[in-house]
Amino acid sequence: MLSQMTVMVNGSPVSVPSGTTVAVAVVMAGQACRTGVTGEPRGPLCGMGICFECRVAIDGRSHCRSCQILCRPGMQVRTDE
């Protein structure tokens, strides 16, 4: 059985199974990952670390490609940074 864990997306808890990527947690939270130069909300596109649309801040480090990083319990994710 996969164990569940909780990560924080913009301060709200999201419960995900272990092995889930941060990009998935952000989409599950109903959030966009970033805002484009002209103000559009953006979410993951390629799912494989190429397009950089899924970049978020993780535990204070900005510009992390969230589709390449697995959730860890208690991780603090901030979109739009």
Binding site: G19, V27, L45, G47, F52, Q68
Partner: protein, 434 residues
């Protein structure tokens, strides 16, 4: 200069998909020191992502087991971003920097999806076909969601079947190519029972999902995220409500690292000889970068490269006939799924082409080359370094992409300064973050 780790290999493989795995396994069997680097958390590449858990692909299980037991140093979650001197690559992990020295290098960097711009394609929940599949394999719940699958290539059916199996509702799969192209392609499969069986299995799994040809997305609609998509079906627009649009137009090879290292490119692919040697001494290339051919071709090219890089020329030679057959299949596939010129008129004036810098179609129409577009509009100058808009611009405007400069991926400033031999004042100039 702070480098967390320095390692030296007889054969270093970049990319842990099927080609890279096969290369590493075969090279290790020859008794040399082998390392394999991949930027994902585990090996398997995109095609075998998550397949080990469900045991679905026999090849995936076989090669993973071979690699697991082989004497190969596995470096996952690390991304190569520069070669400061011949024979030395730098790779960045989540928190560290690696210096990797090699005698022979095998580049098995795989492929990415081709994305083409149409109005609304930048809305959240419009993803690549492989992109959405990767997200579902990475934990995204898809049960009960409505997903329109569109674009071109054999990936569409595989993705639709996968999503349906995981509980998605697929109202339609839109393939832009024609019946005659598809029929010709299917005919070439007649000599390949394994591929026919695979096709029939997919057809069975798809059940009643409508698969339409001559069909493509015209526009995606929604406020903060996707709500519906209008497709062209038999020349008529048709709008469908959906939660996700999974849309990709076949594949383009990842050749940026090869270009950076000076390998010659021919018609968009890395030029290799019969032993998968590139035009640069001691650098080999295998899999999709030499021509989009699929997993069988990648496994054969990988094995040949691995054997040849470790001195096993005779054994490598025995795999040549199999590779020829796989390459014929690749050529047929290429023809069947070529993107039709009508799709060039999908973007409107304000449709964004470069998603990193938000460059609209109308601004690009005024440029005459990729270089000029970069200089005048910043198209392709954002963090993806043109990996998404480059192939799109090539299709839309027939622009040929130009040289690649280091770092080949954005790298952290402390790692770029290690590269420069001291602290950098202006990281942004080198494409650095933070």
């Amino acid at each position: 200069m702070s480098r967390d780790s320095q390692q030296r290999f007889d054969v270093l493989v970049i990319g842990g998909g099927p080609a890279g795995m096969a290369a590493a396994v075969r090279a290790a069997e020859c008794g040399v020191d082998v390392g394999i680097v991949d930027d994902n958390a585990t090996v398997g590449g995109q095609i075998w992502r998550g397949d080990l858990a469900d045991g679905r692909s026999r090849d995936a299980v076989k090669w993973s087991e071979l690699l697991r037991t082989a004497k190969v140093t596995k470096l996952c979650g690390k991304r190569v971003f520069d070669q400061p001197e011949k024979g030395v690559l730098l790779a960045e992990g989540e928190n560290d920097l690696f210096e990797l020295r090699y005698r022979n290098l095998i580049l098995a960097t795989g492929a990415r999806e081709r994305f083409l711009p149409f109005p609304g394609w930048t809305l959240p929940n419009v993803m690549g076909a492989g992109g959405l599949q990767a997200m579902v394999k990475s934990g995204l719940p898809i049960q009960g969601k409505r997903v329109v699958v569109a674009g071109t290539g054999p990936l569409l059916l595989a993705v639709a079947a996968y999503l349906k199996k995981h509980g998605a509702e697929i109202p339609v799969v839109c393939e832009q190519t024609s019946w005659s192209n598809l029929a010709r392609f299917t005919a070439t499969l007649l000599g390949q029972p394994a591929k026919i069986a695979q096709g029939l299995r997919l057809k069975g799994e798809l059940g009643g999902v409508p698969f339409v040809v001559n069909s493509w997305p015209l526009a995606a609609h929604g406020r903060q995220a996707l709500e519906s998509v209008t497709i062209s079906r038999g020349g008529k627009p048709e709008t469908t409500q959906c939660d996700f649009l999974a849309c990709g137009f076949h594949l383009v090879p990842n050749i940026e690292l090869q270009v950076l290292l000076g390998c010659q490119i021919q018609a968009g692919h890395v030029r290799v000889d019969e032993f998968q040697r590139t035009t640069v001494e001691s650098i080999f290339c295998a899999g999709e970068p030499t021509g989009i051919g699929g997993v069988e071709s990648a496994l054969l090219e990988g094995q040949i490269a691995g054997l040849a890089a470790a001195g096993g020329m005779e054994e490598a030679r025995r795999l040549f006939p199999g590779r020829e057959k796989a390459r014929r299949f690749a050529r047929h596939m290429d023809r069947a799924f070529r993107v039709r010129p009508e799709l060039r008129i999908l973007p409107t004036a304000d449709t964004i082409v470069c998603r990193c810098e938000d460059v609209p179609y109308s601004r690009l129409q005024r440029q005459t080359s990729w270089r000029e577009a970069k200089l005048q509009t910043r198209c392709g100058m954002g963090p993806c370094q043109g990996r998404v808009c480059g192939p799109a611009a090539q299709f839309l405007f027939k622009w040929i992409p130009d040289s690649v400069r280091p770092p080949v991926f954005p790298a952290r400033i402390e790692n770029l300064s290690a590269l420069a031999g001291g602290p950098l004042k202006n990281g942004a100039a080198l494409g650095g973050f933070e």
